[in-house]
């Protein structure tokens, strides 16, 4: 029962494996990129799960309440870290898309097998 209540950790591993498989197995570059995004999102889910608490309050401390009990408040630090990770993931995606445009202009395809064929033709 214990493991089922931690379903978010199981989902993160499943998502990560889906992303990993897509990145390695697929030939289409857009699919690879989507796999990469799923992979990164899985890690974001993991971090969010670390900080979350069942029934936890938002981490804004009301000065009217004298005592702050850390156990009742969600840990905001992992969530904040993930804002940075999202920024990183967006910029990597941006660079990857721009690179892909350049590849498409050069070879007229975003399928790796077709591109490799064309590379061989260029070199001959």
């Amino acid at each position: 029962m214990d493991i089922i209540s931690k379903y978010n950790y199981i989902i993160y591993i499943i998502l990560m494996m889906i992303g990993f498989y897509t990145m390695i197995r697929k030939n289409n570059m857009v699919k690879k990129l989507i796999g990469m995004n799923i992979f990164q999102t899985a890690i974001i889910l993991f971090y969010i799960s670390i900080g979350a608490k069942r029934g936890g309050a938002i981490p804004v401390v009301d000065p009217a309440i004298a005592e702050v009990v850390a156990r009742d408040i969600v840990n905001p630090l992992p969530h904040v870290l993930m804002l940075t990770a999202i920024v990183v993931s967006v910029s990597v995606t941006g660079v990857a898309l721009a690179t892909m445009l350049k590849i498409y202009k050069a070879y007229g395809s975003i399928d790796e097998d077709q591109i490799l064929e064309r590379v061989k033709q260029h070199e001959l």
Partner: protein
């Protein structure tokens, strides 16, 4: 003012990048002074920091006045200060070569190129001195994203293709690192490296810590191009514009090796790695030895000088990782000394490659003819670099390899010792082939013709462009000085760095 130098060292190229980007749009004249100026400033700052650390010992800088464990700390111990000085010096040397080469290749986009270039340098220097595990991830990604961009600026379709593969592999590496840091955070509740290390001391048996360790190490091994995970490296470095690879190739792999040392010894401590998990240790050294041999063999099959260099780099990564995991002082001394030496050797080779591309237009070994007549200075620098990488005594490559060999013997890892000797022999063959081609005449089949041509073309002497010459001379002098003063460097810098780990 004096106390803010560590952060000014980082800020100078960053502000330089902004200036290059904005002013370079107006006129390309602004690119050179701003790029060089900001790098000279940060190099000067890094020497001040190194002198301060050597005199007064380790100090830390608290960014923005936010105290650790919540704020970000820059840690300047002897090792990171040495690395900072090496990075800024190599970046300065590389810039002297990159400026003329990029202006020739893509004048219209040179301001864009150099603003990315400066951000990359800034990121590398931050990576070396940061004391925060998550900040390290962010800087690792800054460095990687700028390298993706710089590599994709190469000619034709192969460069973006190589860059795309690097993006996929690099992201997997960075995500593994991030996941490992997440596991450490889960166990310790902090991201500051010192703090993690102190909370971790009672947790060495925990499977979560072991998982964190594996994730972080695999992430770094991907990023540094360690042998079975090196797939992205040769294409990325050989299809990139040579102005980019002259900066990325010498520094990226070495900085990642340094990060590995830093994380192993500052976060996990030797007790954890070498006592609790000694099985992994032997495995890594064996894989490193295999990697050194395999990369050397593949390098022997290359027909292009730059592509050959990329496999030499992979072999050198094997040396350094093996040296760390030997688990004794000699090996670690060799590794740290080799990080310094190899950064200078690699920048030497890529500078020569840039000069060749500038004048000859190709780096295919079979097309390199009569270069000793045509470019005597460039070739002299290449000879110095080649002797160093082969390991001829007065030059620095010999001494770091010597320590690595001593480490191999002390740890009874004869496979690693054999790999090192094999790779030295392979390097001798590799560079002899290049030098032989460069020494030969144009037409090997018609010696009379070549002889006749020699008289007619006596004025064919055209060395590297004047702008590159200071860099080429500086790197050759650095290799010789590091070799002649090896004893001092090891006792004054490297061993102090190890004592402070």
């Amino acid at each position: 003012m004096n106390s803010n130098i560590p952060v000014l060292v980082l800020a100078s190229p960053l502000l330089g990048a902004l200036a290059v980007n904005l002013l370079g749009k107006i006129s390309k004249k602004h690119v050179t002074p701003w790029t060089l100026g900001s790098l000279v400033l940060s190099a000067a700052g890094s020497y001040v920091v190194l002198a301060k650390v050597l005199r007064h010992g380790t100090f830390t800088y608290t960014v923005g006045g936010w105290n650790p464990p919540y704020g970000i700390q820059l840690v300047l111990d002897p090792l990171s200060a040495i690395m900072l000085a090496v990075v800024s010096t190599v970046a300065l040397i590389a810039t002297g070569v990159a400026l003329p080469s990029i202006k020739k290749e893509m004048l219209n986009r040179s301001h864009l190129f150099f603003s990315l270039y400066l951000i990359l340098v800034s990121g590398m220097m931050g990576l070396v001195i940061t004391g925060d595990a998550f900040n390290l991830y962010v800087l690792l990604e800054i460095v990687s994203i700028t390298s993706y961009g710089l590599i994709a600026m190469g000619k034709g379709g192969r460069a973006p293709l190589a860059s795309f593969n690097y993006i996929i592999m690099g992201t997997i590496g960075a995500c593994f690192y991030l996941l490992g840091v997440g596991y450490l955070y889960l166990m310790t509740g902090t991201l500051n490296m010192e703090d993690i290390a102190s909370s971790l001391s009672g947790l060495y048996g925990s499977p979560t810590v072991a998982a964190a360790f594996c994730f972080i190490m695999i992430g770094l091994l991907i990023k540094m191009g360690f042998f079975p995970l090196h797939g992205w490296l040769p294409n990325a470095y050989s299809y990139a514009p040579v102005g980019a690879s002259v900066l990325i190739a010498p520094l990226m792999t070495k900085i990642t090796v340094y990060l590995m040392i830093r994380i192993l010894f500052r976060i996990f401590t030797p007790d954890f790695i070498f006592a609790a998990h000694s099985g992994i240790r032997h495995l890594v050294v064996w894989v490193a030895a295999l990697g050194v041999i395999a990369a050397s063999v593949i390098a022997l099959n290359q027909k292009n000088f730059v592509r050959m260099l990329t496999y030499v780099i992979i072999a050198e990564v094997g040396y350094m990782v093996g040296g760390i995991w030997l688990g004794n002082t000699e090996g670690l001394t060799g590794t740290i000394f080799h990080i310094i030496n190899d950064a200078f050797m690699t920048v030497c080779f890529f500078s020569v490659a840039a000069a060749l591309l500038y004048r000859v237009g190709t780096t295919r070994i079979e097309n390199l003819h009569r270069l000793f007549e045509k470019m005597p200075l460039t070739m002299a620098v290449l000879v110095v670099g080649a002797l160093s990488v082969v390991g001829v005594p007065p030059l620095c490559g010999f001494f770091s390899k010597w320590y690595l060999l001593l480490g191999g013997f002390a740890a009874h890892h004869y496979g690693f010792v054999i790999a090192l000797i094999f790779s030295s022999a392979a390097n001798a063959v590799l560079f002899f082939r290049v030098l032989e081609a460069a020494f030969s005449k144009d037409e090997m089949t018609q010696p009379e013709d070549a002889h006749a041509e020699e008289g007619g073309e006596a004025s064919g002497r055209e060395d590297a462009p004047a702008f590159m010459i200071p860099s080429l001379v500086a790197v050759a002098v650095a290799l010789i000085l590091l070799g002649l003063n090896a004893q001092t460097v090891v006792s004054q810098l490297v061993q102090r760095a190890i004592l402070n780990l």
